[in-house]
């Protein structure tokens, strides 16, 4: 059985969050560059140029791309032949978040008692942690600093199965129409279909980890992704909501079977600043 030390996990999490907040993934940057060319609105193109310039300034000065360095979301795939040694795994992850947010001069945005006192926890913990047990002897860690503005526009519904494709398209498009301009477009839409209510939102969130603009390998789902993207981009919201032809960069759908009575659908909204980073131990 392979041993992985908790302190290694803490160090890894600390550096992943610092990197994620400063350096955007290349596929996100490439997608924004394409958008800056195809956008029809002059103000929209200027806005996208500012976004790209911002990414370069962040890289150059080691500044967070966005000041909202988010809730620390951590996805772990733990090989069943791994033994976590030297402490408690959850604690190791939270120590990593604490360390990364301090060393990286990242903003601490978590508050206790969200319904009343809203007192800052001071170190951006606790992280939101998802772990799965998978075959193998490795630990895959993916981190996602998730900003509040876009997360606030995420929604979940359980629709009558009879609504099918059209019901899903209408739900996503009307959601973007309602609050897309608040979520820092151009957006990346993470969409979950199926499972149970909590599972479908997790599918939607995990869909955001895919390479921007990559398609689901299932041809029917790929077609649905393309239709949603086309329809959302007909809304005219544009970069930052100033009006334009690029409201979303991508729609990523993940699907799970569901109960005969149900069709849960979730949208996890992502601003253009789609930050995630991964390591395999």
């Amino acid at each position: 059985m392979r041993k992985i030390q908790c302190r290694t996990i803490t160090e890894t999490i600390a550096s992943l969050f610092q990197d994620a907040c400063i350096h955007l993934p290349p596929d996100v940057i490439a997608s924004l560059r394409r958008a800056a060319i195809v956008e029809r609105s002059p103000l929209g193109r200027e806005t996208l140029k500012s976004v790209l310039e911002n990414i370069a300034v962040a890289e150059g000065h080691l500044l967070p791309v966005c000041q909202d360095t988010g809730t620390a979301v951590v996805f772990m795939e733990l090989g069943q032949d791994v033994h976590i040694a030297g402490g408690d795994l959850t604690e190791a992850v939270n120590l990593g978040v604490q360390k990364g947010y301090a060393l990286g001069y990242l903003r601490k945005s978590m508050v206790h008692r969200p319904f009343s006192a809203r007192k800052n926890t001071g170190d951006n913990t606790p992280a939101v942690i998802y772990s799965e047990i998978v075959p193998g002897d490795k630990l895959r860690i993916r981190v996602m600093p998730k900003g509040g503005g876009a997360e606030n526009c995420s929604r979940l519904t359980v629709m009558p199965p009879a609504l099918g494709h059209e019901g899903i398209i209408e739900y996503v498009v009307s959601l973007v129409d309602e609050c897309g301009s608040n979520a820092c477009p151009p957006l990346i839409l993470g969409i979950g279909i199926g499972g149970t209510t909590e599972h479908t939102m997790l599918l939607a969130k995990k869909a955001l980890l895919r390479k921007t603009g990559s398609h689901n390998p299932d041809p029917e789902i790929k077609e649905l992704e393309k239709r949603i993207l086309t329809e959302v981009n007909r809304l005219g919201i544009g970069p930052m909501g100033y009006g334009g032809s690029v409201t979303a960069l991508a729609a990523h759908i993940e699907v799970f079977p569901s109960h005969i009575a149900s069709m849960p659908v979730a949208v996890n909204m992502q601003c253009w600043c789609s930050r995630h980073r991964e390591a395999v131990l």
Binding site: R40, S41, P42, L43, R45, E46, T47, K49, S50, V51, E53, N54, I55, V57, A58, H61, L62, L63, P64, V65, C66, Q67, D68, T69, Y105, L106, R107, K108, S109, R118, N120, G147, G148, G149, N152, V173, S181, N182, A183, C184, E231, R234, L235, G236, I237, G238, M240, G241, Y242, G243, G244, S245, C271, W272, C273
Partner: protein
């Protein structure tokens, strides 16, 4: 003052207006939704928790530790500054969360707000009445916007951390006018111009 700024390849020339802060009545009258502007002068930062504190103070008649009349408020909560830097990343946060508090601030003379995203109908009505203006900065562009911040000093509620009220001295801080005093709203007219569905 109008300046012509050559952007990118030079193929597109956009008019950029330079505006001094605190903003004058004349400047507010000259601005229309969709205008690209560069702001120079001083502004206050405030977001959710500080808005709550400000409105509580105003409703009980407690004096604020700063002057609100004539001011510009920027909705931001910057990241901590690295050693040797003035400020960390400092982009705008979603303005609609401040909508509940904004009418009271407008009654006390707030003239200009900078954030991102749509305002409520009640705030827009109140802005028209108070001849106040709302602008947006590019959401997520916190690193870029931080370069326009030349000075930052704490003004009130330091215990709120990133949510405290700071005074910023800015130079050529880029923004776009969203709601002007003539009823224009870029989020409505901009989307309408490009809407196909």
């Amino acid at each position: 003052m109008l300046v012509l700024a050559a952007q990118g390849s030079g193929a597109l020339i956009m008019k950029v207006k330079r505006i001094a802060l605190p903003i004058s009545d004349k400047a507010i009258r000259s601005l229309k939704c969709g205008d690209s502007i560069l702001l120079t002068g001083s502004m206050l930062t405030a977001r959710d928790a500080s808005h709550k504190r400000i409105t509580e103070a105003l409703s009980t008649g407690t004096a604020l530790p700063f002057k609100l009349a004539g001011q510009t408020v920027y909705y931001t909560g910057p990241t901590p500054a690295r050693p040797g830097r003035i400020v960390g990343s400092a982009g705008p946060t979603t303005s609609s969360r401040m909508d509940k508090y904004t009418p009271v601030l407008l009654e006390h003379g707030l003239r200009c707000m900078i954030g991102k995203g749509k305002r409520s109908a009640a705030v827009k009505r109140k802005m028209l009445k108070s001849r106040a203006i709302y602008m947006a900065a590019v959401g997520g562009a916190g690193a870029l916007l931080s370069r326009s911040i030349k000075k930052i000093e704490p003004v009130a509620y330091p215990e709120l951390g990133a949510e405290a009220v700071y005074r910023l001295e800015v130079e050529d801080f880029p923004a776009v006018v969203i709601n002007d005093i003539y009823g224009g709203d870029l989020y409505e007219s901009g989307q309408a111009a490009y809407r196909l569905a």
